[in-house]
Amino acid sequence: CLPMIRIPEANSLSFEAEYRRFALKKNGAGSFQEFYQLLQTIHRIPGVDVLLGYADIHGDLLPINNDDNFHKALSSANPLLRIIIQRRDEDEPVVFPTNSLQRRKKGLAGLRPSQQKNKPALLIGLPQDFRQISSIIDVDILPETHRRVRLHKHGTHKPLGFYIRDGVSVRVTPQGVEKVPGVFISRLVRGGLAESTGLLGVNDEILEVNGIDVAGKSLDQVTDMMVANSHNLIVTVKPANQRNNVVHRGSKASAGNGSAGSGGSALSHESAHSPASQTVSQCSNSNSVAEGDSDDDDTDLIIESDNLPSYTPHRSLANGNIHGNTPSSGVFGHRPLPQSVSLPSSSSLPTKTSSSQESMREDGNFITL
């Protein structure tokens, strides 16, 4: 018997959330259609167009709109499966991007499961249904022989999967051809992120790491720079294979990135400038706050203790004697952490979801900054 839980029905007009928890047999789950109807029944919203999403183990919000991803969702239940139901809203664009849980406010509209259910045709997902893992950026400002690739590490358990080495690069200078030391990609790991994008290849010369020229830097320095930027790595390379270069500026370029479906230069530009990737948060919470910083790649996880009691003046007064500037009257019963929010998991769920999260949760709440 598989317990399932349904979490908030976030209405686009009001944030009234409603939690429901129910059980489902794991093997007898049936098709997506049956499940969709079951939900409508449980929530007493027959006929309302809704979008279904679930939180996968990485904390990403993924859509449920056909049999395949429905079964995938069920298989990821451990044992709870959190399903988020949202009213379809035609106005807002749809994204199921990386860390999409953070942007839930934008809504899940745009998914069209209900219309498509009747069509016998093969369901082909929209680009928005996929998580972006890489993009080519800055095509308009780079020379045609160079390529600037952004790798999104967030939310995947795939390794970045590449190695670099020292080498000799040939540069054409006014004085003639000059040999200078350079750093090259030496190996791509099978199944790794770098290989799956198809944007990086063995013997590509690395020119920049996150905008910083690597000329004159040692292999170890370049390694450290890449590791330090690994959560949002932007490498400018001179591909060894120059045949796939972007020829015309401003064209919708997407080079050999079939599976990832990077949306071309226009889209890439936007994503490069926006804080596209954010912390992978293990829990969804509408009170999550995104860091205002435009710098996007390292939002640290700060765990607040729930059991930290409020200030008790009778004990600290002792120290007050020493420093002389402790206020003499304390505020009793004042909760010092106004921003801490209790979790659905700890408040409404008696069972902990997974052991790895347990250790992080036992002390209290998460605040993602």
């Binding site: 330090a228 200030y311 420093h323 206020p327 505020v331």
Partner: protein, 965 residues
Amino acid sequence: MMKFRFRRQGHDPQREKIKQDLFAFNKTVEHGFPNQPSALAYDPKLQLMAIGTKSGAIKVYGAPGVECTGLHKETATVTQLHFFPGQGRILSLLDDNTLHLWEIEQKEQCSHLEEVCSFMLPGRSGIESTSATRVTVLLPKLSCDLLAVGTEGGGVHFLDYLFAGSNILLLTTLFSSVPEEYKCGKSLGPVESLQEHPQHPDKILIGYSRGLVVLWDLQIFVVCVFLLQQLESLVWVRSGNSFVSSHSDGGYMVWPVSSSTPCTHEPVTSTIPYGPFPCKAVNKILWRTTESGAPLVLFSGGMPRASYGDRHCLTILQDSQHITLDFTSRVIDFFTIHCIDRDKEFDDPLALVVLLEEELVVIDLQTAGWPTIPSPYLAPLHSSAITCSYHISNVPTKLWDRVISAGQRQCHLQTHTNWPICGGKNLAPSPKQQELLLTGHEDGTVRFWDASGVSLRPLYKLSTANIFQTDCDHNDSLTQAGEEDWPPFRKVGCFDPYSDDPRLGIQKICLCKYSGKLLVAGTAGQVIVLYLCDEKSDHMIDVATVDLLQDREGFTWKGHDRLPPKSSSVPFAPGFQPVVLVQCMPPAAVTAVTLHAEWNLIAFGTSHGFGLFDYHRRSPVLARCTLHPNDSLAMEGPLSRVKSLKKSLRQSFRRIRKSRVSGKKCALWLAEQDAEVTPVQRRIEPRSADDSLSGVVRCLCFADTFLRDGTHHGPTMWAGTNSGCVYAYALDVPSQDKFSEQSVEALLGKEIQLMHRAPVVSIAVLDGRGNPLPEPYEVSRDLAKAPDMQGSHSVLIASEEQFKVFMLPRVSAKTKFKLTAHEGCRVRKVALVNFSSVASEDYSENGLVCLTNLGDIHVFSIPALRPQVRYDCIRKEDISGIASCVFTKTGQGFYLISPSEYERFSLSARVITKPLCQLDVDRPHDPSELSPLSSPALDSPNSSADITLDTTGELTVEDVKDFLV
């Protein structure tokens, strides 16, 4: 798109000026004992000592504080050093057979050593091997005008002090008359010794290694021949009526020299002091006459080969007095400091200076019993290997005096004789504040050094081994008893590289300079709290064990056991006396400690977790495991390298097998191919949570700040780990009068996981004005300004990759600097430093100083984290140098340039500790005063430089005639 990242600070000229007044990088002085010394010289006129090293450095020392250094361009061993007495000129011979002349130059207040010229004896081109012109001995004449150079080919060259012109003396007439066993092929063999006659400067004693000794007079060419055995060294007796030779059979002989009988074949005396069994060679001998009677004979070596052949000994003999100084390292060279006044009849030596491979020992020869004189410099820092260093700035006089008096009571058997090497004048002003440098050693000792000035002076030594039961306890007494009465050995020196038990090694030190409480932590998880006490005591130590695994299942410690503490009471001398011993379980090496004497708390961390302990009540407050469930390496202890060793063994076996199959040539080719196919590669992956050793606690800190809320501050403790995790605890510390009744409580307040997961190198809390919080007791004793407790505090977290300032109590990021992302270097050491300006006494700024894995030092402003300056400091290959670096609070720093030497550097433009000294040299500056080859004797027609230089190796009869009339 990345442009916005590099908001460069505009070049504000005003700011640049302030920066110039604040920051300046200088490597100022080297402390400690030179690594691998190879040569020693002494100038009795200027009273200066020079030491040459295998790396080609020359260091000159005079009175304490007087020193200067020179480094040869070539990194070759300095094999010999000689002073031109009184002139401040030093002659060096390197093992590449080049001669170099150095001069001491006075520039403003500093003395410098500068190379003037270098010279190499020209060898014969063609078949002749260069060994013939290989220099074996040097003799700068006391008159300073002439330099005699003995070579392996048996020739003696005469050069002037600038190496101009050269005359050669080849004693080939002798050749026919000398018995066969004194010859070496076609020549007389290498020149072993050149000694100038003490009374007649024109007479030179030339000793060949085969045993032939010739007394040569530069004026009248009289030759006096002695036939001895294999020769090791020669020395004149002061009167000039006899000389002493030492030999490879362990004996020495005294030979009479008188004008009436030019040639003798019988020595006056001949002794083998450690006979009759075969003895090792007497490498060098000195003969010093005394007014009181019997001459003092000092020689190195000569020990009985079978029983004591492995000892490094130097013997002092006078009449019936006989002492065999037994050193722990090889004797490089030695000299005596004695009367050089020619009118005086006796040498009357003051002191014996012995340069050993690892230390310098000075023996007082005037005091009965020949005690040692403590050295004010050249301290053997590495008497046991240095495992950690800790610096305390601005030490209160009270603590300073107590440490010194404790140290004085430790040394017995010392003289009141002043340091005998006292040339030059120390111009450095006496230090404004006292500074202590503490070094932790492998043998469990902590040494206290006076780091206030140019010479690092030992103050006090603390041993922690005596509170543990170790195997070595009774060893000492056994060996002592087993020693026979003869030879009369006396152990001298403190270099002792053999650690009794590696677990005793000191890993971390923390000292509260106001309360005299010391925290010392070691390799076997031992954390010791010591109180400074002026009386001796005999007490039991309270022992507590803290389990840092906290019931974490599935781990078994495969490393060493903890050190068993002694169960009885232990006597302690005045000084720092252990009071509490906390042992971490598992007993992994302690990786971080901190002490708050005002709260009576210590915190300590290992690779498994961290603990908090109330040493007043002797009770543990907190223990927290930081292990990641996947981290298996952490449990294997120090032997975790076995794995990789296994792997590399397997690989090398594979390689061998491959080479056997395909034959030698093919293997070579394969190896080359291999090298081309698989170049050095680096994997690019983000740091993950389960990287090995992620649980290592890297830093701990106490702070009185705002963790609970923005209005009430209180005691807090912070811990940072290798995986980029920071734990912040709010502490409930009872008031001072209730310490005994109430217990301290710790509650986890915040847990910060840095997204980039890089190891946390340091944590510091800044007050409302962005200044670091003062140390415990500083405010309550009115020694520092109270921190700003009104404004909001912030915490500065420095990881290996970036610096970040978070506001408190909310822990929201305020500023950051991503060093690794920008520069590709990783943070190794950081410190908060107060830089004061040279322009104005009152103006100072706080800065974050950071040493990276590339060996460069960056300074950042706080809390804005703006880069200020960057200097190259240490070579990036010098990993142990980088690991040993410590910063002072005022912008200086120390790092080890060898196991035995600290380089001191300063980042501050104001606070600089460098040798300021004056050496008055009496040097004829006009080169014409010294005409090349002033000795007329050598101006014979056929001995001009161009001809004679050609004849070094092979000799003809004609040559002989020219020279020997």
